[in-house]
């Protein structure tokens, strides 16, 4: 008797299974026809890293403090420092190796000068692996249209040599940040 009951119960469940799958036949699909339709990336998306520039002057915000380079867990960022005619420090070269970058966002978080940001760009496939290593000009160009909020203090005034009072003012204005090191003076960076 129980086998007959089990058979009927099993048979009924098979029908229920069929009805459950057939429910989806008339429904519209949930997929997007990429590339004619694209997903709008949320504002906080972590994609390709770009360098931000000042909207008025068009110059890079970066002052080559090397914090992002030292904090990157995979050593994807390489920066060399140089000084221009006005004795301001700027990055002579700024290379991000996208074959290493893991899009963790640490560089954006530790930067004190609104210089580096992760955008929502995800379509950057190339045929040649060498084209994935972005230099400073390419990074700046990618970052030209990126909107950002100025959260941190602006670049410090250039320090002429041996003026201790100005150096003290510069480090005293450092905002409260929770996970950064003692930039911009360039010391004590792990």
């Amino acid at each position: 008797m129980s086998t007959i009951k089990e058979t009927i119960k099993g048979f009924w469940n098979l029908i229920v299974g069929l009805v459950t799958t057939a429910k989806y036949l008339p429904r519209p699909a949930v997929t997007l026809q990429y590339p004619s339709e694209r997903w709008t990336m949320p504002e906080r998306s972590r994609g390709v890293v770009v360098l931000l520039s000042d909207p008025e002057t068009g110059e890079l915000n970066c002052n080559a403090c090397l914090v992002c380079m030292k904090q990157c867990p995979v050593s994807a960022i390489t920066v060399t420092q140089a000084k221009n005619e006005k004795e301001e420090r700027y990055p002579a070269t700024f290379t991000i190796d996208n074959t290493l970058c893991c899009f963790c966002g640490i560089c954006e978080e530790v930067c004190n000068f609104d210089s580096i940001k992760l955008t929502g760009k995800y379509e950057f496939s190339v045929f040649n692996k060498a084209d994935l290593i972005y230099d400073r000009d390419k990074l700046q160009e990618l970052g030209r249209d990126v909107k950002y909020e100025k959260k941190r203090k602006p670049k410090p005034a250039p320090r002429p040599a041996a003026k201790p009072s100005e150096a003290a003012t510069a480090s005293a204005e450092k905002p409260e940040s929770t996970e950064t090191d003692k930039a911009p003076s360039g010391e004590e960076i792990p």
Binding site: L14, G17, L18, T20, T21, A22, Y24, L25, R27, A29, V30, T31, Q33
Partner: protein, 352 residues
Amino acid sequence: MLELDKALLAIYAGLKTWFISSGIPVIWLDLLVMIFAGIVLIAVLALTALFLVWWERKISAHIQDRLGPMRTGPHGVLQTLADGLKLLQKEDIIPSKADRKVFFWAPVIAFVAAFMAYIVIPFGKGLMARDLNIGIVYVLAITTFTVISLLMAGWASNNKYALLGGMRSAAQIVSYEVPLTLSVLGAVMLAGTMSLNEIVEAQGPYFWRWYWLPQLLGFAIYFVAATAEVNRTPFDLPEAEQELVAGFNVEYSGMKFAMFFLAEFVNMFTVSAVATTLFLGGWQPPIPGLAFIPSWVWFLSKTLFLVFVLMWFRWTYPRLRVDQLMDFAWKFLLPLAFINIFLTGLGVYIFK
């Protein structure tokens, strides 16, 4: 156009008078007619197989909340053509120690066997290649050919996994032939004849008089056994990639693989066509008032509906393990088929 059978008969009569008047023996006309019928059948079935492959992908996609092929032609209708072209231009690999003749002939036999069954299936009123009076027995005999081609494919591949897969496939098909044949007997008993055309005519144009109602059990058994015959889920263990033992067609590539693939879809259509003929009234309309719609339209729509149900099964159920499969055939379906025959015989005796 709508009265295809009368049009064809008129053309035949006209050609016959022309032949007689020209002095050519009529036997050449009959030969021409047979060749013509063969060509038409192959063309229709090839187009059907093409359509079915596309339809399966669309049905599976919509069940899974997605769209399926959309780029090759509007809504992907040319997808099968693209797949066929791709398979055509693939390298034809033959394993080094394989038995070349057997390896070559296995897909051919599978393909030919799939097509041969259509000679006796009535596509519409008067639209049959040949009305054999042993119609259904002929169909069942032909579907057994696929077993030979599976064993040939498994053996000739020189691959122990292909051999195991082929033998499993063959065991499955042979086991499910028995309940299949027995369930068909019920409909034959009700109609009193084995000719498929006469079975359709005996069912009449009222859908409550078709044999699915008195033969509910037989229909169910037939359909389940037919699913196993065509190696579809839940009985598709021989084809499953997730199980370790590969299927019989693992060593095939290119056009040979395409032949196995197409043969599977044609087989699906065959078992659905036979089910329509035996249980759903073939080319009969459901009520006589709808007889203005051509008979072959009715046949096609009923068969396509059954093919849709086969695809529905595939995308809903998990698959049975091979020993559970065999248990199901021999210990469950076979006794039920016997009960069905017994009850049908009783019913025929009492009510006729």
